[in-house]
């Protein structure tokens, strides 16, 4: 029974990682860049939602929509100002810029909201599910997060597979120049990708802070790094891979905390990552792409 409770805890934090990883993997898959500022956009989303409910007293749904709107605008703005001018330069330059944007967002948040922690009130209000005579508790947050991550995963898969914009995204991902020759606007497509990725980040922020209530300017950075790990574990660029990687990471982390050692849980998680990458370098569900020379 205990083991099932730990499994639920693991899936709970894992599904938060999964939602963040979906944003990471989508931007990587299409724009071929690691957006390290993704974790911080999550933090901004959570702050916006916190402010809308706590200071303006508006309903939770409005706060989530406001967070999505602000993050979408912020994501597109960052893309236009920081990443677009660097398109065509070595990917290292973009990577360093992304790290810079990440620091910028953290410090800006510290200026605006101060670095004292705030306690985020969970957006989930329904009672936890009690099974096996109260021995197993599944909180509302877990249920909502898992459902949200599945919906987002299915939605993204459908979007990239079936819609015109989605097809354009895949075309840009496969061969940017050929896509441009076929009349696809690469800039517009990448901008849309960032818009969607950042809207997802807002949802991830709300769910992350509903699960773990402490909200401060660094809230997004550690989960962001873990989610990035999850995306690599599942195969970066692969949407179901991000989901699988996130859940796996959460479960491994929780089990190593519970049964092995809380101090070494990180070492164990990253050890597993190394082993998996040694066996399957493209990640669990990643495609092995042959580089043509």
């Amino acid at each position: 029974m205990k083991i099932i409770q730990y499994l639920i805890n693991g899936i709970s934090i894992g599904s938060v990682y999964a939602i963040i990883a979906l944003g990471y993997t989508m931007v990587y898959g299409i724009a071929k860049m690691l957006n390290f500022a993704h974790g911080d956009i999550i933090m901004v989303g959570a702050y916006i939602s916190f402010c809308v409910t706590n200071y303006l007293g508006l309903p939770v749904v409005v706060s989530i929509l406001a967070a999505m709107a602000v993050c979408t605008a912020l994501g597109m703005l960052i893309e236009a100002l920081a990443y677009k001018p660097l398109r065509g330069t070595p990917s290292l330059a973009v990577l360093i810029t992304a790290i810079g944007v990440s620091y910028f967002l953290q410090n800006a948040a510290q200026l605006i909201w101060s670095s004292s922690p705030k306690n985020y009130t969970s957006v989930v209000t329904f009672q936890p599910l009690r099974l096996a005579g109260g021995q197993l508790v599944i909180t509302g947050e877990v249920i909502v997060t898992i459902i949200a991550s599945i919906v987002i995963m299915v939605g993204l898969t459908w979007f990239t597979g079936k819609t015109r914009t989605g097809k354009a995204m895949r075309a840009v991902s496969e061969d940017r120049e050929a896509a441009e020759l076929m009349g696809i606007s690469v800039n517009k497509t990448i901008s849309t990708t960032f818009a969607i990725g950042s809207a997802l980040a807002a949802i991830a922020g709300v769910l992350l802070c509903s699960t773990v209530p402490t909200l401060q300017p660094t809230t997004g950075s550690m989960p962001g790094i873990r989610a990035f790990t999850a995306a690599v574990l599942g195969g970066i660029g692969s949407i179901p891979g991000a989901m699988l990687g996130g859940i796996l990471l959460g479960v491994i982390e929780t089990f190593s905390k519970a049964y092995l050692s809380p101090q070494f849980s990180d070492a164990i998680v990253f050890g597993v990552l190394i082993v998996i990458l040694l066996v399957k370098p493209a990640g669990l569900l990643g495609k092995q792409v042959q580089e043509k020379v």
Binding site: K2, Q5, Y6, N9, S12, I13, F50, N54, Q110, S114, S115, S116, P117, K118, N119, Y120, T121, S122, P128, G134, V137, T139, E141, T211, V212, P213, T214, L215, Q216, M222, P223, R226, E253, T254, K257, A258, P262, Q263, S265, D266
Partner: protein
């Protein structure tokens, strides 16, 4: 031609500087004549000014401590300066509870002319600055940095609060007397000196007193995003009292999760828990019944406490002072008492003052807000009686 110009300029400069001298001297005289009691002009009466500096987290995750200590110290400084006699010039620097920033803050304060250090607020910062202050022979009385290693670093370092192991040990004593037979779970931060020190003190004393510890678990700075597993472990082990020798930010997370899964043991914290009721957005009803060790209770009815509470509230927009504020207040008074007892005038160097204060602290005993008859041992560690409070209806009530 150039030479003539240079000469004229030089003459003009000299004249100007003389003019400057005369002017400032005359203003000083008039000012002294008009307001003899004004601070800064007391030099005329043969009493000097001592510059006291402190550094603490004025922003950041631990800012509740730094801001409280600073305001508590300011209240004490204002009281002392209003008395006349030896004056104190006080300056606080922000170190964000970060060791590196604390060293820069220390250097900035030295550049400002600091003669006595009223400590760092957090243990990590204090440990980072300790070697510097030892090398400078700068007297350093910390209000709240509680590592045992800190006082042992040098004979110039003194503490106003308990050392971590001493506090952990008194927590174990309280648990064994007040909650006899409790099954105890512990969640501590293994990446933090403060938390680990408390835990070690608690563990040793608990074993001695036969307190039953059924679960011990920990987290690190990198893995504290999710503490649900640790709470579940305590619940699975059947703990009916959970000892939390951690800071309030993580504690608020633990309380929130425990209430979500309807796990309601007795939560028992140490002085790092002080501040939990002021976290923005935190539902204080979750902290109902929480026990925490703190030597200061703002509800105490004695005159000294009430006068301090009134002045502190006026300064901090009605905020009720916590233990850190009281520690800060006591630090300034302890330093002031020692300075006056040693007949310091403010003209001495930091090192001379330090030697004089060391001699005073070896023998003196202080009554303050955080205890009476407080005295220091040869290592600079304080001894005073421990006390605990319970949160009831959102305020601290002394533990029965």
């Amino acid at each position: 031609m150039k030479k003539v110009l240079a000469l004229t300029m030089a003459l003009a400069l000299v004249a100007a500087s003389f003019a400057g001298c005369g002017k400032s001297a005359s203003t000083a005289t008039t000012a002294a004549a008009e307001t003899t009691a004004a601070a800064g002009e007391t030099a005329a009466e043969g009493v000097g000014t001592v510059k006291i500096g402190m550094s603490g987290p004025l922003t950041g995750r631990a800012s509740a401590y730094g801001l409280a200590v600073r305001a508590g110290m300011e209240v004490a400084v204002e009281e002392i300066n209003a008395k006349g006699g030896l004056q104190i010039e006080f300056k606080a620097e922000d170190d964000e509870a970060d060791g590196e920033k604390a060293v820069s803050a220390y250097n900035a304060l030295k550049d400002w002319g600091m003669q006595v250090m009223a400590g760092q607020v957090t243990t990590g910062s204090a440990l980072a600055v300790a070697p510097e202050s030892v090398a400078d022979n700068m007297f350093n009385l910390t209000p709240s940095a509680s590592a045992e290693a800190l006082a042992l670093t040098g004979d110039n370092i003194f503490q106003m609060c308990f050392t971590d192991p001493n506090q952990g040990a008194s927590a174990a004593e309280l648990v064994s007397t007040k909650y006899a037979g409790a099954k105890v779970g512990v969640i501590y931060d293994s990446s933090d000196d403060y938390s680990t020190g408390l835990y070690n003190g608690f563990k040793t004393k608990a074993a001695e007193l036969g307190v039953e510890v059924v679960a011990t678990t920990s987290f690190t700075a990198d893995s504290k995003a999710d503490l649900s597993t640790q709470v579940t472990q305590c619940q699975n082990a059947g703990a009916d009292l959970v000892f939390l020798p951690i800071y309030y930010t993580e504690a608020s997370q633990i309380l929130t999760y425990a209430s979500r899964i309807s796990y309601a043991p007795k939560f028992f914290g140490c002085d790092g828990m002080d501040g939990i009721l002021t976290v923005e957005g935190f539902d204080t009803s979750l902290a109902e019944g929480l026990v925490l060790m703190t030597p200061f209770d703002a509800n105490a009815s004695d005159e000294a406490t009430q006068s301090f509470v009134t002045k502190f509230k006026a300064k901090m927009d009605g905020l009720v002072p916590n233990q850190f504020a009281a520690d800060g207040y006591d630090v300034i008074y302890a330093i002031y008492d020692a300075l006056t007892a040693a007949n310091i005038t403010g003209d001495e160097s930091a090192s001379e003052i330090c030697d004089a204060l060391k001699a005073q602290f070896a023998t003196m005993s202080v009554d303050g807000l955080t205890g009476s008859g407080m005295h220091w041992d040869e290592n600079g560690m304080i001894s005073k009686a421990p006390a605990a409070v319970v949160v009831e209806n959102g305020v601290y009530v002394p533990m029965a």
